[in-house]
C-alpha cells in the first residue's frame, strides 16, 4: 500500500495554505452547491473558481478525473429519473409510457451540477491537504482529539477500502473467480467481496483501536506536535472574507433573491 489518503504532494501555494483556509474554501463550495440557483451558475463557479484553484496546485487532472467518475453515475441516474418522472411541458422523446421532458432533464442535470461542485470542493481539500495537518489544525482550534481522528479516518476510508477490496478480489481471482465479465455478473461479484470487506474492516478497527491505545492516544495531557502549521494574518482575513461570501450566498438563497 502506498498511501492512506488521496493527498498529492506538490510545491504550490495552495498546498502551503493553512488547512483551515482550505477547509473554509470547501465549506463555501458546499454552501454554494446548494445555494446557487441553476446549472449555469454552478458550472460557472466550478469552471471559474474551483478549476483555477485546482490548476494552481497542480491538481486539475486528478480532481477532474475523480470528480467525473464519482459524479457520472449520479448524473445519469438523476437525469433519467428527473427527466422521466418530473412534471414538464416540453417533451423530448418517449419510452413506452414514459416521456422525457426538457424541464425534468434540466432539473436532473442541475442536481448533478450541485453534486459536482460539492464534490469538487471536497476533493480540492483532500488532494491538497495532508490529513494529519488538517487534524492538527482542527485540534489546535479546540476540536477534541478523538473527533479530529474521526475526521482523519473519514478522509482515509476510501483509499483503505479500495486497497482492501483489491486485495480480496486478487485473492478470489487466484481461486478461480472470474472478474473480467459483464456489468450484471460484476454486480453479483459484490456478494463475495462485501462480506470479507466488512468483516475484515471490523477486525481492523479493533486492532487499530488497540494500537492507538498503545501509543498513548487517550493519555490525558497537553499534547505536543512534531509537525508545524503555517498561518498568517492575511490567511485569517481571507478565511473571514470567504466565510462572509458563504453567508451572503445563504442569505440570497433564503430571501428568494434568485429565481428558482
Amino acid at each position: 500500500m502506498q498511501a492512506q489518503s488521496i493527498y498529492i504532494d506538490h510545491p504550490s501555494a495552495l498546498h502551503q495554505l493553512n488547512p483551515l483556509t482550505k477547509l473554509t474554501f470547501t465549506l463555501v463550495f458546499l454552501v454554494a452547491a446548494f445555494a446557487l440557483p441553476n446549472a449555469v451558475a454552478l458550472i460557472a463557479t466550478f469552471v471559474l473558481i474551483l478549476v483555477p484553484l485546482a490548476a494552481s496546485g497542480g491538481l486539475l487532472l486528478p480532481l477532474l478525473r475523480s470528480a467525473f467518475w464519482l459524479v457520472l453515475p449520479f448524473a445519469i441516474s438523476l437525469a433519467l429519473i428527473q427527466g422521466f418522472f418530473s412534471p414538464g411541458q416540453t417533451a423530448l422523446f418517449s419510452l413506452g409510457p414514459f416521456t422525457m421532458t426538457l424541464e425534468g432533464l434540466g432539473s436532473g442535470l442541475t442536481f448533478a451540477a450541485r453534486l459536482l461542485l460539492a464534490l469538487g470542493g471536497t476533493l480540492l481539500l483532500m488532494l491538497s491537504t495532508r490529513p494529519d495537518k488538517l487534524m492538527l489544525a482542527l485540534r489546535q482550534r479546540g476540536l477534541p482529539e478523538s473527533l479530529s481522528y474521526i475526521v482523519l479516518t473519514a478522509l482515509q476510508i476510501f483509499p483503505r477500502f479500495q486497497e482492501r477490496a483489491r486485495t480480496i478480489l486478487d485473492a478470489q481471482k487466484s481461486r478461480g473467480l472470474e472478474t473480467e465479465v459483464g456489468l450484471l455478473r460484476r454486480l453479483a461479484l459484490l456478494v463475495p467481496l462485501i462480506a470479507p470487506l466488512v468483516l475484515g474492516s471490523i477486525v481492523e478497527v479493533e486492532e487499530r483501536a488497540m494500537a492507538l491505545e498503545a501509543r498513548a492516544f487517550s493519555y490525558k495531557t497537553i499534547k505536543t506536535s512534531w509537525i508545524s502549521l503555517e498561518d498568517s494574518r492575511a490567511q485569517s482575513i481571507l478565511r473571514a472574507a470567504i466565510l462572509f461570501f458563504g453567508v451572503v450566498l445563504v442569505y440570497l438563497r433564503l430571501t428568494g433573491f434568485w429565481p428558482q
Binding site: A3, Y149, R208, L212, Y219, W226
Partner: protein, 277 residues
C-alpha cells in the same frame, strides 16, 4: 518488575478461563519468552501484562497484575502506555495512518505523551538507530516491508521509553528475513535495558535471545525457567508446541545410540553445530 498474583481471566463469552491462577514475577531488564500452543493463553498473558486486560477487554478477572507494586487494573489506562508498551502481530494495523513518514509515525506516541519537540528529536533518532531504520526515516511507513513496519512499531514503542515492552507474536506474519530484522531490533531494545515479554512460536530465535521461558498450556504455567532446557523438553511436543528440528534430530541421534545421552539437546543452529561436532 511485573508480577502476576494468583491471576485468572475469562473472556466475556468464554466458557473457561484463558489464564488460570498465574503467579510469577518478571524482574526488570529480563527478556522473557512466553510459549505455548495456539489457545494456550499467550495473547491473554500479553494483554494482562500490558493492562489491556481489564481496561480494554472486559471479562472476568481475579487476582492482580502489578507493575512495580501497583496494580495495572487501578492505573489510568491512558497513562499505562508510558509504562508498558505493546506490539501486536499485524504490522500494518499498528501504523497509525495519522502520519506520513516513519519519523513522524514514531513521533505520534511522543506527541500523545506531550514530549517537547527537542526531546522528541533525540528519542526518535535513537529509536531509528536502535531498530536500524535511519535510511527509511523519511519514507511512508506504508511503503515498507512487513519486517520494516514491525520495526517501526518497535521504534515507536521504544521512543516512548516504557519500562516493559510486551510483544504478542511480533514475527508471526513475517518471512525469515523480516523475522531476523525484528529479533535483532528486540535484542537491541533488551540490551538498552527494557524488560521484554515476548509471546511466540519461533523457538530458535527465542532461545538465542531470551533469558527465561514460560511454557503455557490451557492458561496455566507448566514450565518456567531456562529457555534451552524448556525448549528441549519432550513435554513441548505433548502440549502442541513441538521442538526445533535441531532438537528433534539430536534426540533421534541420541535414541539411536549415536551420541552420548547426557549431552544437553541443542535448540539453535549454533548449539546443534557444537552438539554434533
Amino acid at each position: 518488575m511485573i508480577e502476576f498474583r494468583d491471576f485468572s481471566y475469562r473472556y466475556p463469552t468464554a466458557a473457561a478461563d484463558s489464564l488460570s491462577s498465574l503467579s510469577l514475577q518478571i524482574p526488570r531488564g529480563q527478556f522473557c519468552a512466553v510459549v505455548g500452543a495456539n489457545g494456550a493463553g499467550k495473547s491473554t498473558f500479553c494483554f494482562a501484562a500490558s493492562g489491556f486486560i481489564p481496561h480494554f477487554f472486559r471479562g472476568e478477572a481475579h487476582g492482580s497484575v502489578e507493575l512495580a507494586g501497583k496494580p495495572l487494573a487501578e492505573a489510568e489506562f491512558g497513562s499505562l502506555a508510558a509504562e508498558v508498551g505493546i506490539v501486536f502481530q499485524n504490522p500494518f494495523n499498528q501504523i497509525s495512518g495519522a502520519r506520513f513518514t516513519v519519523r513522524e509515525e514514531i513521533a505520534f506516541g511522543l506527541e500523545n505523551l506531550g514530549v517537547e519537540r527537542g526531546e522528541m528529536q533525540t528519542r526518535i533518532q535513537l529509536a531509528l538507530e536502535v531498530v536500524d531504520l535511519v535510511d527509511v526515516a523519511e519514507r511512508s511507513p506504508f511503503e515498507l516491508s512487513g519486517g520494516q513496519q514491525q520495526r517501526v512499531a518497535l521504534a515507536s514503542m521504544f521512543a516512548m521509553r516504557p519500562q516493559v515492552l510486551v510483544l504478542d507474536e511480533p514475527t508471526s506474519q513475517l518471512d525469515p528475513r523480516g523475522t531476523r530484522e525484528v529479533f535483532r531490533a528486540i535484542a537491541a531494545l533488551s540490551e538498552a535495558g527494557t524488560t521484554i515479554i515476548l509471546a511466540g512460536h519461533k523457538l530458535e530465535w527465542l532461545a538465542e535471545f531470551a533469558d527465561r521461558a514460560i511454557l503455557l498450556d490451557q492458561g496455566r504455567v507448566i514450565a518456567d525457567g531456562d529457555p534451552d532446557t524448556i525448549f528441549a523438553m519432550e513435554t513441548m511436543g505433548e502440549v502442541g508446541v513441538g521442538r526445533t528440528q535441531f532438537t528433534d534430530v539430536a534426540a533421534a541421534a541420541q535414541r539411536a545410540g549415536m551420541l552420548k545421552d547426557h549431552a544437553a539437546l541443542p535448540v539453535t543452529l549454533a548449539q546443534a553445530e557444537a552438539f554434533f561436532s
